[in-house]
């Protein structure tokens, strides 16, 4: 009998699901009975989930973990395998449960201000979508195998589609929703192939193995045994590849889904468009949680990726590139949410860089701090958008600092965290990622390249962040709405305050540089946290795998302390330089569009390096004409043959019937002639002559 909170873990996801059902059915059949259009059940449910998650986390901190599963589909016979649904509570998932339910809870409250107070219609649909999303996301987090993870990975995609397209009467949101679903589906296609491949190879997709004889092993563990050449584990590989190469293929395939969901290059194009959805949705789904699903998945099966150096290097490189690439685009955007969207892409790039560089804890740390400060920034932007009567153009804002102080200070806290200024949360986590990339990169050139890109991105991050802050809150108001902004209520300010504090202080959970430089012991709480729990899922074990299989080793510049100081100093200096430059240019009463001076470069940046263009071309310029050509071929050639057969029959019939003249003499002649011919033939064959 597991401890009670563990037994209740499924309820963490079930509660929001119930709120989804309530919003759906009561909203459809008796909307009057639904308080606040479904917000109240949603808040109660996510609040319940949050409390349960905290309880679960508390229990995990007592050193206990939980893994329980049921058979979803039983495969008959011995040659096949079962498919499972299960719950895995370990330090990583417990932490993620708290993050997701916390942000979901706050977003539900914020929605009261953003949706209800603004008099939106269709609220039951909105809250149903939020409820379903929260339920799916939480289920994804505690999934104990890759199949279940994939199932909920897809379901959060559906919810994203539903919520981006919430304002379906306009043209842009449904189109953005479609794009988001399609692009992520394209990534999920590779994930699905990888998932099926994992089943075919290992016969299971469990994340963690059972204990005792005959228990199901986890697939990373089997892979580890196979590569180490020990144990009785046997796998089937395909395409004539050896296990190492085949595992790398599988890893890359699963990575496809990650790249799609976490909006990494080149599948990042959907995320900026997804900003068409309501802002609380952007905060919950497209910043803090769903987009994190990809990164979380890599962290979840890090025991598998840690075996595959090539894949890790690719992850790091893609991450570093995305971080830089997206940050440069964020520099020129006009809409506040667009800046945040590109910043989200960029920040997830950092996490990928961290994972690829062997910084499992660092990436997880950044996942957590980013969830807080990016949700905060989006909600702050939402507050600004309410105030601005749904005008998102930063060039119409300015001077909001004095008119909405709570929003300003919390937003500032988030911005400092995002830019990575000490001592805000983002500094610690981003610095740790860059540190990991640096020390491992000293021995691996590709990682070093990724590190350099990540480092450069720090400058741009600082720049666009403070450009955004300055344009929005400082200077003189540049429009009438900015002079007389709409008021926001407690339901907006409350969530902002909570997240603002978290963005400022969440870094204390893992102040690694302090520990290393000052020698203070045991303040790397997150490291200790992620080291507790099952041995096979611990950060310590991942470190060993990285060393043994991926041959990662840490280099230093000078001594260890100088390396730490150098890395942290460099990134802090760059962040301050970027922020300072932006401040100098834009925190003036009447800023001008300095980015116009970039000329052609600005055009390229403003058009997102024409990434959308070629992807739209792939869909509309290539696939659609191809489909039309196929249709022409089908109608013309294939159906043409079918109709041709019938035409030939008809035509042949119309010719042959001419024999039927209607003249009796001809019939008689035919009869006689045929009879004679028959006789002759029979005679010839029968040998009469």
């Amino acid at each position: 009998m597991a401890p009670l909170p563990f037994e209740l873990t499924p309820a963490i996801a079930a509660l929001p699901f119930v709120s989804f059902l309530i919003a759906l059915f009561v909203g459809a059949f008796a909307p009057r009975l639904l308080p606040k259009g479904g917000a109240v059940p949603g808040i109660l449910a996510t609040g319940g989930s949050l409390l349960l998650s905290l309880w679960v986390m508390l229990t995990v901190s007592g050193g206990e973990t939980y893994h329980e599963y049921v058979t979803w589909v039983a495969g008959a016979g011995e040659a096949t395998f079962d498919l499972h649904l299960g719950v895995l509570v370990d330090p990583l998932s417990a932490m993620m449960l708290v993050i997701v339910s916390l942000v979901a809870f706050l977003v539900h409250i914020f929605s009261l201000g953003y949706m209800n107070d603004e008099g939106e219609t269709g609220l039951p649909r909105y809250y149903a979508g939020l409820g379903l999303f929260t339920a799916s996301m939480l289920s994804f987090v505690f999934a104990d195998n890759l199949l279940m993870a994939f199932m909920f990975f897809e379901l959060v995609g559906l919810c994203s589609w539903l919520l981006i397209g919430f304002w379906f009467r306009d043209d842009a949101p449904p189109s953005a929703a479609k794009k988001a679903f399609l692009v992520t589906r394209f990534g999920d296609y590779f994930f699905l192939v990888g998932l099926v491949g994992v089943f075919a190879t290992f016969g299971t997709s469990m994340f963690v193995g059972g204990e005792g004889e005959g228990a199901i092993q986890s697939f990373p563990h089997i892979a580890e045994q196979v590569l180490a050449g020990e144990g009785a584990a046997e796998v089937t590989t395909y395409l004539g590849l050896d296990p190492q190469a085949w595992f790398a293929v599988l890893g890359l395939l699963i990575l496809g889904g990650v790249v799609g969901k976490s909006a990494q290059f080149p599948l990042h194009t959907w995320l900026p468009d997804a900003m068409e959805g309501p802002t609380p949705v952007s905060a919950l789904i497209h910043a803090a949680t769903m987009v994190a699903a990809g990164v979380y998945l890599v962290a979840r099966i890090y025991g598998f990726y840690a075996l595959l150096p090539q894949v890790l290097a690719l992850i790091a490189f893609v991450g570093g590139f995305t971080a830089l690439f997206a940050a440069t685009m964020g520099v020129v955007k006009r809409e506040i949410k667009q800046v945040l969207a590109y910043s989200t892409i960029s920040q997830y790039g950092y996490m990928m860089l961290g994972l690829g560089a062997g910084g499992y804890v660092a990436a997880t740390f950044h996942l957590m701090t980013h969830a807080f400060f990016k949700a905060l920034l989006f909600l702050g932007a939402g507050s600004v958008i309410i105030a601005m009567h749904h005008n998102e153009d930063m060039w119409d804002m300015g001077g909001l600092k004095d008119r909405m102080p709570v929003t300003y200070y919390t937003f500032l806290s988030g911005s400092l965290a995002l830019a990575g200024i000490v001592p805000f949360a983002g500094f610690w986590s981003k610095d740790e990622i860059l540190y990991e990339a640096l020390v491992h990169g000293l021995n691996t050139p590709l990682l070093l390249a990724a590190y350099v890109m990540g480092l450069l991105a720090v400058f741009f991050t600082g720049f666009y962040t403070f450009r955004m802050v300055a344009l929005t809150f400082h200077g003189e108001p540049r429009s009438d709405t900015a002079r007389n902004p709409h008021d926001v209520r407690w339901n907006v300010k409350g969530p902002l305050a909570v997240l603002g504090i978290l963005a400022a202080v969440a870094g204390v959970v893992n102040m690694l540089p302090v520990q290393k430089v000052l020698g203070v012991k045991n303040i790397d709480f997150l490291h200790q946290w992620l080291d507790s729990g099952p041995e096979a899922l611990s950060a310590h074990h991942y470190g060993e795998l990285l060393h043994d299989f991926a041959h990662y080793s840490a280099g230093t510049i000078g001594s260890g302390v100088t390396t730490v100081l150098l890395g942290a100093g460099l990134s802090l200096a760059l962040a301050l330089a970027g922020a300072g430059l932006a401040w100098k240019l834009y925190a003036v009463p009447d800023p001008e569009e300095h980015t116009d001076k970039l000329g052609g470069a600005k055009t390229v940046l403003f058009n997102n390096y024409y990434q959308d263009e070629y992807q739209v071309w792939l869909a509309e310029g290539l696939t659609l004409p191809l489909a039309r050509a196929a249709d022409k071929f089908d109608q013309g050639v294939i159906d043409g043959v079918v109709n041709g057969v019938s035409s030939v029959s008809l035509f042949g019939g119309s010719r042959i019937r001419r024999v039927q003249t209607g003249v009796v003499s001809n019939y008689a002649f035919l009869l006689t002639a045929s009879f004679v011919v028959l006789l002759v033939v029979i005679g010839l064959v029968g040998g009469w002559f």
Partner: protein, 509 residues
């Protein structure tokens, strides 16, 4: 005797409805169709069987078997019975017929008694196809299906109904002939080792290698030739590209309820027959030529999806996507693995429900807007929210959203076919790409028709659909979700029935 009772009740209902006045025919037919529905559900609940109906050592449910016509040593038998493959299909038939009848109340406004009578007659024939185990009996039912179908399309169809009805009838009938020749050649090849057309006897004799030569044709060639003939014959019914062109025409012209039956059940006759005949009776031919058959499957999936992408008529989109989805079934069958064949059978049921749902919701939209062209309408979501919600749910079901029946079926098929035969990894991966294309065209169509500003290019008043139009939609979507959440409702019995078909050795899982 339960199967006979089921068919007899359905036939009697058909006759009764045929004689009833037009006004009450719809309601009477629906009420009477509940009898076979309840009957089949009762049969499901008391179902007890094991093994595959055609193979030795099986225990069939509701089996009856007696000599029907005896001539010397030869006999035709009346042999019906259910195993794990046919039971789900029987249930699918009765469920879908009742819902299709409900969906006919609005669109069918002339000669109702004849229409509903023919629908019930169709149901009886379909029940016969899925339960008959004697070739002669089976073939009678198989051909019997065509008659009501031809009339239903030809009389109540759209403007080009005659073309579509004749095309369907002639095409599938020629296919039946080809298939018949193939099968009878096998029976003759078996010589005196079988003295009846009893399918289990023939299947077991064939699997035992008792096939001799037929005239100058040796056993090996005969097998391949018969396989090709039967495959071609059934491929038309499924339909497999390139034998698919009758399907879109038939769908576009057929009235909604007939489309539901056509996509939901009739197409499954083809895959059911492929499973029963080709893949059960001549397994080694199928396995030796697995890459070729898989190629047909993959081409169906991708090419069908591409065609759907190019269409501008909602019904044509769904029709072509049926071609695409049925391709998965072929891929699963040829895998010869538990998940592959089980998933293929599960996909028959899943696709039956989902495509029925899609045609039904397109029909409901058509009833109110009187157009099916994507470009003629937009923003329907504001006017008919429940219908649109179900349409969206159905469309995501079609895309294989987890926890809906289609996902389970496709997942099983992919799990089963991955690595099952030479080159299967590539074939499976290629077929999987269908999930991206299907998302593409459905999302594109939904965006243009359901969302945006409300606008319809017709003069009709657009409002929420009637209760009896929406109710079957809701029932279907609930069934799809139920099967998706708990596939073992059918999958356990399916697995039990396909297990004997799976060779003990072989690749895949």
């Amino acid at each position: 005797m339960w199967i006979e009772a089921l068919i007899a009740v359905t036939l009697a209902s058909a006759a009764a409805v045929f004689l009833a006045p037009n006004k009450v025919a719809g309601k009477l037919a629906f009420a009477l169709s509940l009898l076979p529905l309840v009957g089949s559900l009762w049969m499901y609940s008391t179902y007890e069987a094991s093994g595959n109906a055609l193979l030795a050592g099986s225990e069939l449910a509701f089996e009856t078997n007696f000599d029907w016509v005896v001539a010397g040593p030869y006999s035709l038998s009346w042999h019906v019975g259910l195993d794990g493959i046919s039971m789900p299909l029987i249930a699918l038939t009765t469920v879908l017929t009742s819902l299709a009848l409900l969906a006919s109340w609005t669109p069918i406004d002339e000669r109702q008694s004849q229409f509903y009578g023919l629908m019930l007659f169709l149901e009886a024939s379909l029940l016969g196809v899925f339960s008959a185990l004697d070739f002669f009996l089976w073939f009678v039912f198989w051909e019997m299906v065509l008659v009501p179908m031809y009339v239903l399309i030809g009389v109540w169809g759209g403007p080009r109904r005659k073309y579509a009805a004749i095309k369907m009838f002639v095409y599938t009938n020629i296919a039946s002939l080809v298939m018949f020749i193939g099968f009878i050649a096998l029976v003759f090849g078996l010589g005196d080792s079988v003295t009846s057309l009893d399918m289990p006897a023939i299947a077991q004799a064939l699997r035992a290698g008792e096939l001799g030569s037929l005239g100058p044709v040796g056993a090996g060639t005969l097998k391949v030739a018969a396989f090709v003939a039967m495959f071609a014959g059934f491929a038309v019914k499924v339909p497999v590209v390139p034998f698919h062109t009758w399907l879109p025409d038939a769908h576009v012209e057929a009235p909604t309820p007939v489309s539901i039956m056509l996509a939901g059940v009739l197409l499954k006759m083809g895959t059911y027959a492929l499973l029963r005949f080709n893949f059960t009776m001549l397994p080694e031919v199928a396995q030796n030529n697995a890459p070729i058959i898989a190629l047909f499957a993959v081409v169906s999936v991708i090419y069908g999806a591409m065609l759907a992408l190019a269409q501008s008529d909602l019904k044509r989109i769904v029709a072509y996507s049926s071609v695409s989805s049925m391709g998965y079934v072929i891929l699963g069958l040829v895998a010869y693995t538990l998940y592959g064949m089980g998933g293929a059978t599960f996909q028959m049921v899943a696709h039956g429900l989902i495509s029925g749902l899609m045609f039904m919701s397109v029909g409901v939209i058509y009833n109110t807007t009187h157009t099916r062209m994507v470009s003629d309408m937009s923003g329907l979501a504001s006017k008919m929210p429940i219908t649109v919600a179900v349409f969206v749910a159905g469309a995501f079901g079609y895309m294989g959203l987890p926890l809906m029946a289609g996902f389970a079926a496709e997942l099983f098929i992919f799990l089963g076919s991955f690595g099952a035969f030479a080159g299967s990894v590539w074939f499976t991966a290629a077929a999987m790409f269908g999930i991206v294309v299907v998302a593409g065209y459905l999302l594109f169509a939904m965006q243009r028709t359901l969302f945006g500003d409300f606008e319809v290019e017709t003069d009709y008043e657009v409002g929420p659909a009637a209760f009896h139009d929406v109710a079957p939609l809701v029932v279907l979507i609930l069934l799809v979700i139920l099967l998706g959440v708990d596939p073992s409702i059918f999958y356990d019995m399916i697995q039990n029935a396909v297990d004997p078909l799976v060779p003990a050795t072989g690749g895949g899982v």
